[in-house]
Amino acid sequence: MRRDLAHISEQVLIERLVIGDPAAKELLYDRYAGALYAVVLQLVPVKERADDVMVRVFTWVFQHIGTFHTSGYRTLFAWLMRKTRELAIREALPETALTGSALMKLEEGVLQRFYLMLPADQQQVFRLSYFKGLSITTIARLLALPEEQVNDILGDAMKSFRQFLKDTWN
C-alpha cells in the first residue's frame, strides 16, 4: 500500500477509484478485505469458493464504482457488504441449498451472534432471508405461512437488529 494514500478519506478514495487509480484500488482492498472476508465466510463455507468470491467482489467493485453514488448507500463499506453478500449467496446456494446447518457452524461473526439471539421463528426467517438470500414469497412457501406473517417476523428481526447494533456499536 502506498503510504501517502493510507489515510485518505472515504470520499477521496471513491473519487480516485472512479478515475481508475491503481493505488486507490490497492488501498480499497487493504482497507476492506478483512471485514468483507468475514462476511463471505459466514455465507460460503468452502474456503476456495470464499476466495473466489473475494476476487469477484473486488473485480466488480473496480468496474462499477461509478454506481456507488446512485445506490442509496452512504458508506462504502455498506455498499461493498451488500454486493459481497449478493455474490457470496450466488456462490453458496448450489452447495448448501436449504440446509444451512454447516454454514451456521463454520464461522463466528456479528450476524451469526445476532442470529443466535433471536427467537426460533425469527431465526428461521432471518436465516433463510439473510444467509440464503430467499425472497419473502419463497420463504412463505417453504414455511407454509402467509407472506404478511413472514414479513412481520422479518420486521421484528430487523427491529431487534437495530437494537443489537445500537447497544453494541452506537
Binding site: K25, D51, Y73, K159
Partner: protein
C-alpha cells in the same frame, strides 16, 4: 413522530443488509427525499455495521490479494507500475562456487559450435574415405603394368 416510528421499524437495517423488497426500497428512497434527515440515520446505521464488521475481521490469504492486484495489472494492460514500491529481490543462485553465470549469447555460440563440429566430423570422415578409395585405386593402377610386364616375355 411518524418518522420516528418508521425509523424504529428497522426498515433502514433491512435496506442496509439488502433484505428489503423492491417496494420497501422505493418507499425508503421516497421517504429520504421527503425527509433528508433520514440520510443521516442511514449513515448512522451503516457506520454501526461497519464498526461491528471491523471489530471482527478475518484476514484473507495473501494469494487473494495477489489475484486481485493481478487483475488490476491486466486491466491496465501491463502498464501499471508503482514507482514507490520497494521490491526486494532475492538471489536464489547457490553460493557453492561450482556454478557460473554466463551471457545468453553463449548458449547460441555453443549450439553453433556443436553443429559445426558435427559438420566437420562428417567432412573429415567423408574425405578420409575418399582418400582411402583414391589410394586403393592408385595402388591398383601401379600393380597392373607390372603384371603385364611379367606375362609379356613368356608370350614372346
Amino acid at each position: 413522530m411518524e418518522l420516528k416510528f418508521y425509523i424504529e421499524s428497522g426498515i433502514i437495517e433491512s435496506f442496509v443488509l439488502g433484505l428489503a423488497s423492491e417496494a420497501e426500497v422505493e418507499e425508503l428512497q421516497h421517504m429520504r427525499r421527503l425527509y433528508p434527515e433520514l440520510d443521516t440515520e442511514v449513515e448512522f446505521v451503516e457506520r454501526r455495521l461497519e464498526r461491528a464488521a471491523f471489530d471482527e475481521p478475518a484476514m484473507p490469504p495473501m494469494e487473494i490479494r495477489d489475484r486481485v492486484l493481478q487483475k488490476i495489472r491486466w486491466e491496465q494492460g501491463h502498464a501499471y507500475s508503482d514507482p514507490s514500491s520497494n521490491y526486494t529481490f532475492i538471489n536464489i543462485q547457490p553460493k557453492d562456487g561450482s556454478h557460473i553465470t554466463v551471457h545468453r549469447w553463449w548458449k547460441i555460440f555453443f549450439i553453433i559450435f556443436f553443429i559445426m563440429s558435427k559438420v566437420f566430423l562428417f567432412l573429415a570422415i567423408f574425405y578420409y574415405l575418399k582418400y582411402r578409395m583414391s589410394q586403393e585405386q592408385h595402388s591398383f593402377n601401379l600393380h597392373q603394368p607390372v603384371k603385364q610386364e611379367q606375362t609379356s616375355p613368356s608370350q614372346v
